[in-house]
Assembly symmetry: C2
């Protein structure tokens, strides 16, 4: 999905548009586990690595309101380790089978100049409904709790922690895909976003003459407080990490209570974290770390 | 395409079959540039890297007699180098546009624990005709010349050459896709194979009660003689490297002259290298290096 949030991203998207000669293209996502793969390789947490690589793609497809039919994978690792490769494929097959996703191609490459692990995944599917994401003025914002760091911000994690290791570094990303597609069929979800690379700054693209006010953010996990204590600013926290909220839904305030209780009754933890108001395209967050206002 | 040729490949294929719950699946390929990416990164040969990653997928799709409609990419590199990334995307777009392949998703990941470059590509398409690959007794074998090492055997190349560099290491893989699909529509091509990982041993899977005899192999490039001179055996040469032949066609001897001249009139170099005879599943090659018989 070209999610790096880098300045050259616009140039990439314009270049790619040149190949769009047909009107119809299936919804698709390409992503992997990035720098987090270093910890998964060190600690042989291969099942978690698979969940991370799937989550990054599945959650993005949920945002597109698309169901996945086909998956291709490319496993990149530093050693020809049969046990690791089979463990990865077994877990990938298990997760795909339960969602009726067919694996149609794959490759394994040994890169002896690599110290980590990458599981690059490409998925394709079809839209369940193609109504786009509209964060409407007056909407309530529901935050769905993350499982921790998920799979982004790891360059910063390594910068802060150096060679130190925390179990939280290999905790897998939560998969919201199945539950979000279900909610999408039961309720009128106006807008939604996966809080990953770029974190809460990702919400800005949905705003026009509106602002997002988050005055009741979900409580961050301990690891986020630890990062914050190591001289990472409020703004950097909310633009680098999910800070406890992995997925956001924008819904009519009439529906918000039913959706929150549906989530909480189904092993997710969710709460109303804020609202969409008239404004000029800003995301305003009352930091859970300092209670200070962060404006993105 | 799971082309590693490793002992666990059968296990992977069996596992993946568990996800095949629907009858129809589109032809697809996933592949990248592997260890060769180290040289491309060192020498900033980004256009060649793109050609390599495309060739690996396009040539495999040609073997499936499938036309590609959609492409997803994942660029993995050690530094957030905007110039490199844009150069890669520009060349990818150029090559896709000319073949009407739509790029539907992509990702760029910076892995600071990586010393090379990987361009992981996933393609999908549709069969032009789905007749399978049959190397029939009595067929002539046409060899189409490679541009050199192509993108496999680089683990061996690095073992042999250590830190030495040769310009041949960054020469891009030849793309046979366009020409092979055209030949496939004009002639009755019984069988074909892309000579990549596993090299000539790849031909064994097409043989049942037949053998392949290659008694007139194309002349290897200088770099192959150099590898051979550094104590790589005839057998290892022909099971690791293309040794000058990047693609093989198995055709009726009546058609062989027309196909060879069609290729030679269109900037490919091709010749009749051997034939399919009655036998027991062996590939027999008269080594271009020693004139000795190699039996695979």
């Amino acid at each position: 999905m070209y999610k790096t949030g880098k300045p050259y991203i616009k140039k990439i998207l314009e270049l790619i548009k040149n190949t769009h000669t047909q009107k119809l293209r299936p919804p698709a996502s390409s992503d992997g586990i990035g720098t987090k793969g270093f910890y998964h390789w060190q600690h042989k947490s291969f099942r978690n690595a698979v969940l991370d690589s799937l989550a990054m793609n599945l959650n993005d497809m949920a945002v597109l309101r698309a169901r996945i039919y086909f998956l291709q994978n490319h496993i990149i690792l530093p050693l020809d380790d049969e046990r690791a490769i089979l463990k990865i494929v077994e877990n990938l097959v298990k997760e795909c089978k339960k969602r009726e996703i067919q694996i149609i191609a794959g490759e394994t490459s040994i890169h002896d100049d690599f110290a980590g692990l990458e599981i690059s995944i490409a998925v394709q599917g079809a839209y369940e409904n193609h109504k786009g994401n509209k964060f409407q003025i007056g909407d309530s914002l529901i935050g769905i709790r993350s499982s921790g760091l998920h799979s982004n911000g790891f360059t910063k994690v390594r910068e802060v922690f150096g060679n130190e290791f925390r179990l939280e570094f290999i905790e897998p990303t939560l998969i919201y895909y199945d539950k979000v597609l279900e909610l999408n069929s039961k309720f009128d979800i106006h807008g939604m976003e996966h809080i990953t690379g770029g974190a809460f700054a990702r919400l800005k693209k949905f705003l026009n003459e509106s602002d997002i006010e988050i005055d009741n953010p979900l409580k961050p996990h301990e690891i986020f407080y630890e990062l914050y204590s190591k001289e990472v600013s409020d703004e950097e926290m909310y633009t680098t990490f999910n800070c406890g909220t992995g997925f956001v839904l924008s819904v009519s305030s009439d529906d918000s209570a039913s959706i929150v209780s549906d989530l909480n009754n189904n092993r997710f933890f969710a709460g109303i974290i804020g609202r969409v108001v008239e404004g000029e395209g800003k995301v305003k967050i009352k930091s859970a770390f300092s209670n200070e206002l962060v404006v993105l």
